[in-house]
Structures are given as structure tokens and as C-alpha cells.
């Protein structure tokens, strides 16, 4: 039973398209995150949501819009995809924010923009 699951695992799309990545966690956590990992392996935080409320919004283009319909889900919608958006995107969750609990990661979504 997967704790944090993302769909799809792979996504290949053309420049200019709009795509979404879904994330669901069944751990009962109240905080969820999106990270972008580029080819250099940097794990850059994009957004954090606590109880469906946005608490961290790093310098991310407006083309990226997170949506949290409930505490168990955090989806990422990307408009007008660009070549530089190609990366692996990880969703994660933890119990509480600023509370020193373990973060659990999804398996990642490899996005390739051609």
C-alpha cells in the first residue's frame, strides 16, 4: 500500500502544452510538498501546503499552479510547458510543518518537454 503516490510516473509532452501531475498520500499527514529535481540532482522546493493552505511558494514561474482539494491530495498543474521544465518532480508529505517529522516522498514524475 503506497504511502505517497504520484501519477503519472513518466510524462512526455511538447512545448506549449498544459499538463497536470497528481499526488495522493494515505498517511493522514496534513502537510504536502512539491519539489523539482534537475539533472544536477538539486532538490528544489516549489510549494508547501499545510491543511490545504499554501505556506511556502518559492520563486516559481506563474505557469506552475498547485491545487490542494483536500489534505490528502496536492496536484501540480503546469501551463505552457517549456524545455527548461524537464525534470523529475517529487511530491512529499509530513505530519505538521516546522515539527521535525519524517518526510515521505512519492516515486517521482519524470517530465520531458520536447
Amino acid at each position: 500500500d503506497t504511502a505517497v503516490s504520484q501519477t503519472p510516473k513518466y510524462l512526455v509532452t511538447q512545448m506549449g502544452n498544459d499538463k497536470s501531475i497528481k499526488c495522493e498520500q494515505n498517511l493522514g499527514h496534513d502537510t504536502m510538498y512539491w519539489y523539482k529535481q534537475d539533472s544536477k540532482k538539486f532538490l528544489k522546493i516549489m510549494f508547501s501546503y499545510n491543511n490545504k493552505e499554501l505556506i511556502i511558494n518559492e520563486t516559481v514561474p506563474n505557469r506552475f499552479s498547485p491545487k490542494s482539494p483536500d489534505k490528502a491530495h496536492l496536484n501540480l498543474h503546469i501551463n505552457s510547458l517549456e524545455l527548461g521544465d524537464s525534470a523529475v518532480y517529487f511530491c512529499a508529505s509530513s505530519q505538521g510543518f516546522f515539527r521535525n517529522t519524517e518526510a515521505f516522498f512519492g516515486q517521482g514524475t519524470r517530465l520531458t518537454v520536447v
Binding site: Y35, F42, N100, A103, F104, Q107
Partner: protein, 105 residues
């Protein structure tokens, strides 16, 4: 701002030791450590909650110097299974620049 890790990459032979450092320009209230194997998601190793704390996880241990805003991860008698990228993380789940570790037979 993300913590800076050093070295960026290290290659070891089985049985050798390594130290990975994590340094923050902002106050570190605690430090998390994670390991990411190739093609997989990061996996939690340990959390250090206060300055001076040291923890161990098999042959992997860590220390945390709150005043210096630094933490170090120690890998002793490395095994092939230790290969991967190691990340330190802050209380806000902002991760460091990463250290790629490769253990050779």
C-alpha cells in the same frame, strides 16, 4: 536559501569512511538527513533535534552543531548499498545541495 553541502561528490572503496558536511547561512533548528538511490525517491535517515546531538543509524551517524549552523554525516566502513545522493534538510523541509556518494567494490 538552501544549505550548502560538501563535498559535491565522493568516490570510495568498500570499507572506507566518508564525511558529508552541511552548512546553512540561516539558523538551523534541526537537521534531517536523507539518502536517494539512483532512480528512486529520497528516503529518511535521521533527524537531529538539538545542538551537540549525535545519532547513529547502522554505520551511519551524524552530528549537529547548532551554533555553527552545521551538521555532518559520517559513513564508516562503507558498503556498496551506501551509494546514492545524500541530502541534509531544514525544519522547513528545504534540502541542501546534495552529495553524490559512490562506493566501489
Amino acid at each position: 536559501q538552501q544549505p550548502v553541502q560538501s563535498p559535491q561528490a565522493v568516490i570510495l572503496r568498500e570499507g572506507e569512511d566518508a564525511v558529508i558536511n552541511c552548512s546553512s547561512s540561516k539558523a538551523l533548528y534541526s537537521v534531517h538527513w536523507y539518502r536517494q538511490k539512483h532512480g528512486e525517491a529520497p528516503v529518511f535517515l535521521m533527524i537531529l533535534l538539538k545542538g551537540g546531538e549525535q545519532k547513529g543509524h547502522e554505520k551511519i551517524s551524524a552530528s549537529f552543531n547548532e551554533k555553527k549552523q552545521q551538521s555532518s554525516l559520517y559513513l564508516t566502513a562503507s558498503q556498496l548499498s551506501y551509494s546514492g545522493t545524500y541530502f541534509c534538510g531544514t525544519i522547513k523541509y528545504i534540502f541542501g545541495t546534495g552529495t553524490r556518494l559512490k562506493v566501489l567494490a
